[in-house]
């Protein structure tokens, strides 16, 4: 049972990190455009001959 004393705080910490990361992702607009990235892959943007 003692392992819980470590594991639970660690899981809470990871939870906090995940939340912060998610908030950052939403705020920085990572989810704003979910439609064009898949199309962008198909159009070749390289100017190389």
């Amino acid at each position: 049972m003692n392992s819980l004393l470590f594991l639970i705080p660690i899981s809470m910490l990871l939870f906090g990190v995940a939340i912060v990361f998610f908030i950052w992702a939403v705020r920085s607009g990572q989810f704003d455009d979910l439609d064009s990235p898949p199309i962008d892959l198909l159009t070749d943007d390289d100017d190389a001959p």
């Binding site: 639970i8 809470m12 939870f15 908030i23 705020r27 989810f31 704003d32 439609d35 159009t43």
Partner: protein, 784 residues
């Protein structure tokens, strides 16, 4: 496209495909196109001409674009991102991927451009640039120099609001998801302790941790429900939010109380799952509603953000918000008026459909007050601004557009009303059941009431319709069909008759002049110029066949719907149109006749190529539907088309006036048929309105796009049969979903009421039922 008789030189412009003009460089229609093409070739982007699917928009004379650099305009439309700034422009004229490719490449070549994203579907170009290296106006000029027409999208406040809403919804959803997973983990541990062997201290610790983890889910992610609960309480009209809010608060608050007083059970899991799944339901519903809104904004160009102002003899482009009473504005055909103003020039035809609902253009005389939001149908006019901003009728229009976008499908309303009834029934039931158990077995009363509340919550019912609609709209959007009216999908499923317009619908709507025969000594080129003069500003698809160029002035121009156009040139009455109209007594053929004072001057042969997939689509539709063809063209050409499509003569009508098309549709409806009308809206706006469901081709008139139930973008006619297939499939899915959710609630209720189900299991069952309904919606596919 040289004419057979070789009399006129119609060498088309390599860039925009329009005929050459006087004094233009060889191979191009004007200096603008020549410069654009030279730049494209010089920049190594010549591949554009190979990649593109149609001609480019003609390059207009360059105007003063310095307004784009104004700080006041940028403050509203340009946002700071990282080191640079981001501007989102609505760009008209992008038709295919090659256009997006060209704009993307062209902008990336400018110094100071960090990132470009051109989206053909939404008609938006997003530019991230370094304002120190390049002013926005230079980038806008680059786009304009290629022939595209950049403008500012809708209201920036609305776009920003939409983005904020989307982001906060996502945040709530994500936090609910993460929090629910964590809280469930600890709840699970508590559940698995079936023998009660867990030490009390550990159990309490787990309970407190769960309480902590579920708090953000309940109070942050669940805030919309709690707000709704509060609002519904104030209005004393309990709805879904009352049920959700009260169940969630009861479950969470009850659990905290139980934790404090060391009770036998907690229900944090029920609270968090409830919030999470209801948020998913809301998310789907919102997506269904907003999916097409931004694309429609771009298609219809609802609100002009910039206007051309005349000042000291020069034209400048200014934001609409800058306009002041007394300013002089320039407008050309197809533009929406940005402000109310007095007409300074000759009489003009204005389309005020958005304001009055009247689809026929209205003739306004010099000195008349023109209303913002109306669309100039022909020519170029100047007006003196009389009212701006909120004082105009335009602001009313904006509110109307917003109201239309907010309007919910009636089926959703029905499902919601049903859920509301269910909510009331549930609340009453919960009180009754609670009262009974309080008498029989008081400690059991609270969990049983909670279980009843959760299990009977019409979540699956609330999800049943929005998920299916969202899925169907998504499928349709992928195929280039935008559903604008909420009722359309529902009504589409009962359609049994499809009526096609010919020009611009079954054909490409790109008529070309094949040959000219002249009669009265006039040469072919001047005959064409007279035709251009008469058709100037006309939205009839045939007008485009004559091209552009210098032409004599026309007075008292008048168009006779479905027949032709007439006007006075140098005092004489000229008519252009079908044989019987232009030259009385002349037998109708499929040519377009030009006549002066009733004497034939020229006969133009115009052809419009059929869409490649027309025959296949009509054949596929004819298997399950009655297909009709209505056309304003002459009988021989329509018959030829009908033969090509395999339609029986009884289902084909030629020489239909707009009224004729309406009458034909009314006759079908009188026979009890449910009619789907497919048109481009140029000569069939009334028919589109008369039909049970209307589909407009996106290359048609902007006004038809606003009125149509469904807009088909792209060149594919196959969208029509896919639309019908998906509508039927969606209707079936909705029926299945409603059946399941109502059945499940009815079955689970007695089980919960007799105390055979704990709140946790009730929440799990509710979640499973909701997931089943969503999964069923995602199963929805376009029938092969």
């Amino acid at each position: 496209m040289a004419p057979a008789d070789g009399q006129i030189d119609l060498r088309d412009c390599r860039h925009c495909g329009e005929p050459r003009r006087e004094g233009a460089p060889p191979g191009y229609c004007c200096q603008g196109c020549a410069a654009a093409a030279a730049w494209i070739d010089g920049s190594g982007l010549g591949a554009y001409y190979r990649l593109r699917e149609g001609p480019a928009p003609r390059v207009e004379a360059q105007a003063d674009l310095s307004a784009w650099d104004r700080a006041d305009l940028q403050a509203a439309w340009v946002e700071a991102v990282g080191a640079g700034r981001r501007a989102t422009l609505a760009v008209d004229g992008m038709h295919c991927a090659a256009c997006a490719w060209l704009i993307d490449k062209a902008l990336r070549r400018e110094a100071g451009v960090l990132e470009v994203r051109a989206n053909v579907l939404t008609a938006r170009v997003r530019i991230d640039y370094d304002p120190a290296a390049v002013p926005l106006s230079v980038l806008v000029r680059r786009i304009a120099a290629l022939g595209y027409r950049p403008s500012l999208p809708g209201s920036p406040a609305r776009e920003a609001q939409r983005r904020r809403d989307r982001r906060s919804m996502l945040l709530r959803l994500g936090i609910a998801g993460l929090g629910t997973m964590q809280a469930m983990m600890f709840s699970e541990a508590l559940y698995l302790d079936t023998t009660g062997s867990m030490p009390i201290a550990t159990r309490d610790a787990f309970r407190w941790i769960t309480a902590l983890l579920s708090a953000p889910v309940v109070f942050y992610a669940g805030a919309p429900f709690l707000h709704g609960f509060w609002r519904e309480m104030q209005l004393r009209s309990p709805g879904m939010d009352t049920l959700i809010g009260s169940s969630v608060l009861m479950a969470w608050g009850g659990s905290v109380i139980e934790t404090v007083r060391d009770g036998p059970q907690v229900w944090f899991d029920a609270a968090v799952m409830f919030v999470f799944f209801m948020l998913i339901a809301r998310h789907f519903e919102r997506r269904a509603r907003h999916a097409s809104a931004s694309r429609i904004d771009a298609l219809a160009g609802a609100q002009p953000a910039l206007a051309w102002r005349e000042r000291e003899g020069r034209l400048e482009q200014v934001p609409t918000s800058e306009l002041a009473v007394g300013d002089r504005l320039h407008l050309h055909a197809g533009q929406t008026l940005p402000a109310d103003g007095l007409l300074l020039d000759d009489a003009a035809d204005l389309d005020e459909a958005l304001l009055t609902g009247e689809s026929r253009p209205r003739r306004r005389q010099p000195g008349d007050l023109l209303l913002a939001g109306s669309v100039l149908r022909s020519g170029e006019v100047r007006l003196q601004v009389a009212a701006v901003g909120a004082a105009t009728v335009l602001s009313t229009m904006v509110r109307r557009v917003e109201a239309a976008q907010q309007a919910r499908p009636p089926l959703l309303d029905w499902a919601e009303a049903l859920s509301r009834q269910a909510v009331l029934a549930t609340l009453v039931l919960a009180v009754l059941v609670g009262g009974w158990w309080l008498v029989v077995d008081p400690p059991q009363a609270f969990p049983i009431v909670l279980a009843v509340l959760v299990v009977t919550c019409p979540c699956a019912l609330a999800l049943a319709v929005p998920t299916a609609l969202a899925r169907a709209n998504g499928l349709l959007a992928e195929r280039g069909a935008l559903v604008l009216s909420g009722e359309a999908l529902h009504r589409l499923s009962s359609i049994d008759t499809v009526v096609f317009d010919k020009t611009g619908t079954l054909t490409r709507g790109q008529p070309t002049l094949i040959s000219t025969i002249t009669y009265a000594g006039l040469d072919a080129e001047s005959a064409r110029r007279h035709a251009v003069a008469l058709e100037a500003g006309s939205h009839h698809p045939l007008a485009r066949a004559f091209g552009h160029g210098p032409c004599p002035p026309v007075e008292a121009r008048r168009s006779v719907a479905g027949q032709g156009i007439e006007g006075r040139i140098e005092g004489r009455l000229w008519r252009l149109g079908q044989a019987g109209f232009a030259v009385p007594g002349q037998a109708d053929d499929d040519g377009v006749w030009l006549a002066c004072e009733g004497r034939a001057v020229a006969r133009f042969e115009i052809d419009d190529p059929i869409r490649e997939d027309a025959a296949a689509v009509v054949a596929a539709l004819a298997r399950h539907h009655e297909v009709h063809l209505l056309s304003g063209d002459a009988a021989p050409r329509v018959a030829a088309m009908a033969a090509l499509l395999g339609l029986p003569a009884a289902q084909v009508q030629s020489r239909c006036t707009p009224e004729g098309k309406c009458a034909a549709i009314a006759a079908l409806q009188a026979r009890g048929r449910k009619v789907l009308m497919v048109g481009d809206g140029i000569n069939d706006a009334a028919a589109l309105a008369a039909a049970d469901v209307s589909v407009a081709m996106a290359n048609g008139a902007p006004l038809a796009l606003r009125q149509a139930d469904v807009v088909l973008s792209g060149e594919r006619l196959a969208g029509v049969s896919e639309l019908l297939g998906i509508a039927v499939a969606a209707q079936r899915t909705i029926r299945q979903n409603l059946g399941w959710s109502i059945g499940y609630n009815a079955l689970a209720l007695p089980v919960a009421a007799i105390g055979a189900m704990s709140p946790g299991w009730a929440a799990l069952g509710m979640a499973a039922s909701s997931l089943l309904v969503s999964a069923n919606a995602w199963r929805l596919r376009s029938p092969p």
